[in-house]
Amino acid sequence: MSNIFTEQPWIADAGPLTPALSGAQISVNARRSALKMLLSVVSVFFLLMIVAYGGRMLYQDWRPTPQINLLWGNTGVLLLSSLCLQAALLWARAGKTDWVRGALIGAGILTVLFLVGQVAAWQQLISMVLGDFSNPSVGFFFMITGIHGLHMAGGMVALMRAIKRAFTQSDIQSIEHNVSNCALYWHYLLGVWLLVFGLLFTGDNFEVLLKICGFI
């Protein structure tokens, strides 16, 4: 009856109403659903930037961004922060509140470290190009890393709330919901970072990117 392919809405109910016929519970899944929807939107956002980058690479005058080794270290830090959140989630499920608190704080510190590292990478690049931003690949570098960083910084707001809740509340299920959403967000942004770092900023990945973008 609730199948959108087969339902015949012009026929009124012939049996008792069940909750399955309506929307799901508001309190349980709404934040999770909103987060998943938001991540879909953000995916389109990053995808468009990557496609634009790939399209621009096709031109003869393309000059890649100078290599910045610091980005490898930043990637490691982001990976660790994501792992911390995964650990926090597993401990929350196991009911180990103290461990959850430690892992959340660890994730927060590592994320701040990642952001500081990204700013340092920016400074390195600025000194390399001597303030000349006319090279499109440099422009893309600043834009994509900047927007990714802004998403991380935004996530910090949610992480701070999760930390506060972990220290002030005893309801482990509520803590778990928060940690679970933060973990999903962090894993997602780690994935995005690995994609843009791997494709755009680690050297000569020209052909891989063009294949992904469908140009060859």
């Binding site: 009856m1 609730s2 959108i4 339902e7 809405p9 012009w10 009124a12 109910d13 012939a14 049996g15 008792p16 109403l17 069940t18 909750p19 016929l21 309506s22 929307g23 799901a24 519970q25 508001i26 309190s27 899944n29 709404a30 659903s33 909103a34 929807m37 938001l38 879909s40 939107v41 953000v42 389109v44 956002f45 468009l48 930037m49 634009a52 399209g55 621009r56 031109y59 005058d61 931003f133 006319s134 090279n135 499109p136 440099v138 422009g139 893309f140 600043f142 834009m143 927007i147």
Partner: protein, 590 residues
């Protein structure tokens, strides 16, 4: 006639889900300014959108005065004319229609129609409005900065948009880009709310396929917008960086004012692709809610169930999907590969199939209906006439070979005004009149409403129908003045003057409309709770206007779709969605 007993007890089990906790404002500010009630937020959206829309309306008058009576007004020069064109277009498309249809109608109708107390995230909803308001303020501020607002055309194509010589290339363009970015952030907040509310906060019995088509239209348009707006956001950021940091995303090596610009290697076409990847779905972001609303208006005021409900839902979804793969039909003249042109022309024509299907279904809903020529019905019929007309000219422009000579002429202007300006505005007006008794608890003034309808309907035709002929004659769009052009006869100017007079009259009718809305909200006759004998849940509320929380102690249960009109064997010609199925009692049968 059968006796109908409503046997609620055998159909309703106790709710298994706790209700959402409503936020109750304690202060006047919390209740009316920073309100978290979706209905108040809806009115805030609508009022702001209509206010900035009136500015755009005035800009259109000024443009028309220049075109109809060139050299008669000293305060209009070529630069300011382009600024008026740009701001008129952007305001109408984004800040009026998108905001009004999704922020205004979406906020008011979604919770009420799906049987929810409020949006799922009321606080986010409130923030969403204030971010939108900030975007409007930023946009309006560009009128007052040095150099004025941008005059790049609503498409904001680089390199022209940011080169010296284009009006507003100093600050106006930056404010426009910032305003768009802020708008998109605000919309994303609101959009997530609409989608999650529809998916997860529907009341018991309200399956997706029992939702009124209004909700379907708003839902799919919101999803569309959530996925289309990022393209505009990305292009706004990139162009801002080109202006502020001297990057070269869109700016090629170029000479400007006799000097070489600092930019090298940017690609202006990239902007066009990004812009239209947003821009074409934007047409449907405006159209789909209008499609949904008009379906309900036609069904209710023709007292007939909607013809082909499931088809209507799938047509909305199909149109939304197809709208993402037609964008380059706006770019035929850039010199694209003919195979691309063929592809985009084909997809463009395919989109006409589900669209035509909807039109047939609207007509078939009217067929043998008990048509009440109420104000909402008049506007609905007017919508059909404008939409069919505008859709037909879309077939011309969708074909690459026909589009080439017509591109950049008034034919294009006439087409898109018919199909995505006047047609949705007809629905907006019809919808406001339809839900006005519910929103205010009072009736609008019938005489003023009829005056508003007839002047708007006839006047809009007088504006946009002759404009097609001007376009076919070759009158270019965005030109400040065409007098003295050798290939155009003098009659072209006469037509232009008549269009201007019609536009001014249509504009005046909108002032009557606004006056009617304000006047009637205070002095209008009291309206009953369900004056149209409609079936959907918003008409079944305990109070009119609905109070905070929408429904009484219990949320309604839904047993049927929203289109049970003129059901055979039933005394009333409508059965509300929350009325349980009939059971024929033994006494009645005997």
């Amino acid at each position: 006639m059968e006796h109908i007993a409503h046997d609620e007890t055998s159909f309703v089990r106790p709710a298994e889900v706790g209700e959402m906790e409503l936020y109750h404002a304690k202060t006047w500010l919390g209740k009316y300014v920073f309100s978290q009630d979706a209905k108040t937020i809806a009115i805030q959206y609508a009022a702001t959108a209509i206010a900035i829309g009136m500015v755009a309306l005035v800009l259109s008058w000024v443009m028309r005065l220049q075109l109809g009576f060139p050299d008669a007004f000293d305060f209009i020069d070529p630069s300011s004319y382009l600024q008026f064109v740009t701001m008129h277009g952007m305001i109408m498309v984004i800040y009026l229609l998108t905001a009004l249809l999704l922020g205004g109608f979406g906020n008011y109708l979604i919770p009420l129609m799906v049987g929810a107390r409020d949006m799922v995230f009321p606080w986010l909803n409130m923030i969403s409005f204030w971010v939108y308001f900030t975007a409007v303020v930023l946009l309006a501020a560009s009128f007052f900065v040095g150099g004025g607002s941008t005059g790049a055309g609503w498409t904001l194509y680089p390199p022209q948009a940011i080169l010296p010589g284009t009006p507003g290339s100093e600050t106006g363009i930056l404010l426009m880009l910032a305003s768009l970015a802020v708008f998109i952030i605000g919309f994303t907040m609101g959009g997530l709310n609409y989608v999650v509310t529809i998916l997860q906060a529907r009341t018991r019995g309200m399956t997706l396929m029992r939702m009124p088509l209004t909700v379907w239209g708003i839902f799919v348009a919101t999803v569309l917008a959530l996925f289309a707006f990022p393209a505009l956001f990305v292009s706004a950021i990139m162009m801002s960086l080109d202006v502020l940091l001297g990057t070269s995303f869109f700016m090629p090596a170029i000479m400007t004012m006799g000097n070489e610009a600092d930019h090298v290697g940017g690609n202006p076409l990239l902007f066009q692709h990004l812009f239209w990847f947003f821009g074409h779905p934007e047409v449907y972001i405006v159209a789909l809610p209008a499609f949904g609303i008009v379906s309900d208006l036609i069904s209710i005021h023709a007292r007939n169930n909607i013809f082909g409900y499931r088809m209507m839902v799938w047509a909305i979804i199909a149109i939304a999907f197809l709208s993402f793969i037609v964008w380059a039909h706006h770019m035929y003249t850039v010199g694209m590969n003919p195979y691309f042109g063929f592809f985009f022309a084909t997809t463009t024509l395919i989109i006409a199939v589900p669209t035509a299907l909807k039109v047939y279904n609207w007509v078939l809903t009217l067929w043998q209906g008990n048509i009440h020529l109420t104000i909402p019905m008049l506007f609905s019929i007017a919508f059909l006439l404008f939409f069919i007309n505008g859709g037909m000219t879309g077939l011309f422009l969708g074909n690459a070979s026909v589009s080439m000579p017509l591109s950049d002429t008034l034919f294009v202007v006439a087409h898109f005004h018919m199909v995505m300006a006047v047609a949705p505005v007809m629905v907006v007006c019809g919808a406001i009149y339809h839900w006005y008794p519910k929103i205010t608890g009072r009736w609008y003034h019938e005489g003023m409403a009829r005056f508003h309808f007839w002047v708007t309907f006839v006047g809009s035709y007088l504006v946009f129908l002759p404009m097609h002929y001007l376009g076919i004659m070759g009158v270019p769009r965005r030109y400040f003045e065409i007098t003295g052009t050798s290939f155009l006869p003098d009659s072209a100017q006469t037509v232009n003057a008549s269009i201007t007079i019609a536009a001014l009259v249509v504009g005046f009718a909108q002032l009557v409309f606004i006056y009617n809305l304000i006047f009637s909200a205070m002095k209008g006759k009291k309206a009953p709770g369900n004056p149209w004998n409609a079936t959907s849940l918003e008409w079944q509320t305990e109070h009119t206007p609905p109070q905070h929380g929408n429904f009484g102690k219990e949320l309604p249960c839904v047993y049927r779709w929203a289109y049970d009109f003129s059901v055979p064997g039933v005394e009333d010609d409508f059965i509300p969605q929350n009325v349980p199925p009939r059971t024929t009692t033994p006494e009645a049968a005997s």
